[in-house]
Subunit: 193 residues, 4 copies
DNA sequence: TATGAATGAGGGTTCATTCAT
DNA sequence: CATGAATGAACCCTCATTCAT
């Protein structure tokens, strides 16, 4: 109920454009990119960025929230899939892939530059809940070791993304494979390929 | 002919003091600490820091180089120890512990702020060689899976440090345990408990 | 030929609403309030404010002009009252009260932010004339010292307002009493108590 | 004990130059002058200003403190002079003259732009004490009316300065004369000149 | 005509690096 | 050589004013 009429078309366009550019730039260069640079690449003035997002943190938060919400939705849809183990590890790989493509998200998850947990608390908690569901189901099915909780799994996903990005294209997915193997209970390791 | 005479005693002392303080500060606060602050804590002028290290990156590189060299030495000494598997995993844990205690090193390994591989290429390669020896021996002994190389192991050690630091004191070592389990070949997992 | 037809009713309403809100806001918060804020409180767009008043100064000037015109009218009506001395000092107190209630007007009178005399010259001169009449009559009646002119009296009224506002509720009216005493000719001071 | 050695000559020179320029500029143009402008006029970089004064407020405070301290000293020296009434009114005129020459000081005293009482609390209180001494002595001698305190007198001095500056060179001192007359007890007015 | 989004020139402040003392 | 003051390029953010819708 904050607005009495629909937002203007150009405002929506600019907002979307800023979000899109900011997402690309943050993903490619990390969080230290100046707002002025984002504005320049979006073809708008710096003030326009600030009209839509009152602070740099807010802009970044908006991007991360959208990202996390999409990820949570994916987690929710997987939670009802057939095989709990498969669902859990599919989600793990999906989230790592997201993180690889996004340097800024990685920095945020690693706690460098912004405190996402503080800024995007609601989305972060929802993600944690969805993840906890996936995890618990997989653990009950005997597909995941019992001595981990959602916090550790989240950290591992963020860490895998960072490591994979760091290693570049050589041996893609190797880090994630190893980590997932480590998450399986003893005796349930994937047979060597 | 970079120097006509041996360096003065006070210059050596200052250089050592700056290195020591910078190490502590970078470890505790990360790479964003201003040079002025390091100089102040070292009890020298900012110019003195720049006399010994032409840029901030160079200072940080020097610290990392010293760190890496020490780590390499440790790797070398373990390489001749009795059990290759034990040696490898001991070294893994040792390096993670180093990384946990050092925020700046973690930032660097995560790629935020400096590109260590570019700045400390020689030491980095030497570490890689020492690590390769440990790794190969452990793999030959059947203690580590065959589909990883030293680059992946190095990334995993850095990642474990970052993740453990991020999680704080809850479940200490859990991430490292999982990762090490993932590094073992199928069938060689640690028994539960 | 500034307008080919009479202004529309809604335009008049908006103009009046903007003036009213701007007056309140300037009075309460001073001149540094952004135009956007005034527009928001008036329930119009910023562009509407600029349609009616080409600059921020113009808006403020319009307010001050309206204020001054009202004050001039009061001066005119007092000029025909019975006792010239009473009329003069009544008006003095009235104008100080106006100024106390209006932070923006005080800032303008103190020369901080806008040059009212330049922007509202006509109204200012009319006020000066009305004030001169009151003053001259009071001086002829022996109620006010002879060595002051309307400019000094106007400055004193603005100054009293600023000082009273600055002192807040402690000793209300003391400054004005002192100043009015100073304006009386020697021997005509108010008796103590 | 904050410094182990004497400050460098150039630093002292620059600091003094910045203070001098800032004083002139604040006095002439008021508090809204950008720091960059002050730096430019002083022939230094903006960073140099910030080395000596951590914020713009701090710079302005330093200037006001120096000013107020000088004024307090003057008040103290007058406090032991022969005639209490003469001493009080001499000081009044002196402080008004100071304020006339200084637009920034006037703005500060009028509360526009900075809260001097908060930033320069110690100096402000010392001035208030010195002023209270002068005032009490003059009141005991029957030279000043009894229903005013130091706060009112300080406000009157600031107000006189602002008003005199506003009126410019016409009728110089008239405002101050009137105000001082108002401060005398009934029956003690200066005879008409 | 009304709207409110877009603009862009500054403003205060920080900090890596240089250079006078 | 050591010192630490000076520099100046950025950075984040605000707001008077313009202009597309």
């Amino acid at each position: 109920m904050t607005s009495g009429r629909p937002p203007r078309a150009d405002a929506l366009r600019n907002r979307a454009r800023v979000l899109e550019v900011a997402h690309e730039v943050f993903a490619a260069e990390g969080l230290s990119v100046p707002i002025d640079e984002i504005a320049r690449r979006a073809g708008v003035g710096a003030g326009t960025v600030y009209r839509h997002f009152p602070t740099k943190d807010a802009l970044f938060t908006a991007i991360v929230v959208a990202r996390i919400d999409r990820i949570s939705a994916r987690a929710r849809s997987l939670a009802t899939a057939g095989d709990p183990g498969q669902a859990f590890f599919d989600f793990f790989a999906y989230m790592v892939a997201e993180g690889i493509a996004n340097k800024g998200l990685g920095e945020a998850l690693a706690g460098a530059g912004v405190d996402v947990e503080a800024l995007a608390a609601a989305s972060d908690q929802e993600l944690q809940r969805a993840l906890a569901d996936l995890l618990t189901r997989a653990q009950r099915a005997g597909a995941v070791r019992d001595d981990v909780g959602p916090r550790e799994v989240k950290a591992l996903m963020g860490g895998c993304a960072t490591m994979e990005r760091q290693l570049g294209a050589s041996a893609p997915g190797r880090i994630t494979t190893i980590t997932c193997d480590g998450l399986r209970p003893p005796g349930a390791r994937t047979p060597p390929g």
